[in-house]
Symmetry: C2
Subunit: 204 residues, 2 copies
Amino acid sequence: MAHMTSSRVRMSPDARREQLLELGVRLLGSRSLEDLSIEVLAEEAGISRGLLYHYFGGKQEFHVAVVRRAADDLFAVTAPDGVGTQLEQLAGSLERYVDYVAANYRGYVSLVRGAAGGSAELQEIYEQSRNALTDRLFDGAVAQEAAQLGLTDTPAVRLLVRGWAAFMEEVVVEWVRDDRGVSRDELLAHLAASLPGILAPLRP
Amino acid sequence: MAHMTSSRVRMSPDARREQLLELGVRLLGSRSLEDLSIEVLAEEAGISRGLLYHYFGGKQEFHVAVVRRAADDLFAVTAPDGVGTQLEQLAGSLERYVDYVAANYRGYVSLVRGAAGGSAELQEIYEQSRNALTDRLFDGAVAQEAAQLGLTDTPAVRLLVRGWAAFMEEVVVEWVRDDRGVSRDELLAHLAASLPGILAPLRP
């Protein structure tokens, strides 16, 4: 991998920190959080370990910052694009979600598996990320889907949609790990159909 | 909690080890794996730490043995009872699953969250446990449900059922943590309906 901009180029500390976070997230595409050390980042960025400790404070803080950035990226990349119906937008978000997980597999698994069993701070980021993704669904596709089914926003609906998020996570991670001959288009069709499938039995 | 049978009662080493594992699982009902130390077990069992190290070798081995036992218990308790149709049996299994998670909440969360991000050995137990539960479903309720829907046992069906297991895990853990006013009967009805809900869109 090409090294980043030489340190002789003047960058503000914030811009440099941003650039290092982006590199950290990119490195997570091919290695787990556990294997993402300050040393690895320093080598890839072509700057000293001391400077990295200066920017992030320590390995734990560095991991927290990288995982938070990855969660933000995921949130941004899966934002509805505003084109078409809510369900068409959901289909687009699902597509970008699948491609994001495929491109960032190791790091994404670190986020969902590692953070789930990891430090309190990583767990918190994971919870926030999942809640933010679910809440956004409620403002859009779920609200529309639920309304079409005659459902309102009840605790039972929220509980099942939370379960649906776990379903999605598991199916997509497993598919990326081993696609079992299921094509990307088939996968996307199954994922899109699963939300109404789970909600339909709630109809009054 | 009452202490176990005094160590003056003669028991075979295997029987004593079994008894200690059962105690370990019971203690996991109210504390996480991290908080289940050899010291806690020794105190509850009324025997020495040295003897516990003799039985289990160390803390890591003790945790692995307790988690394996908990996974076996879960598998046993959710076995179809052979009464009624496959789907009635699935409903019964779901009911016992929900009650098991409610009675063993902390330990169960340790199994599904902790093991997922934990040591390779704990991850392996978790994977095996989930696979065993899913495979048993395939021999019973899923096969019947799929046949009613005109589905055969394809990789896509297996993938979605794996996702359904994650859905179940998430919904039940969340419901036990905070039931949000959703009754146990409502929850069970939603869970039972979700499997055909997820599989139905796969119909040819």
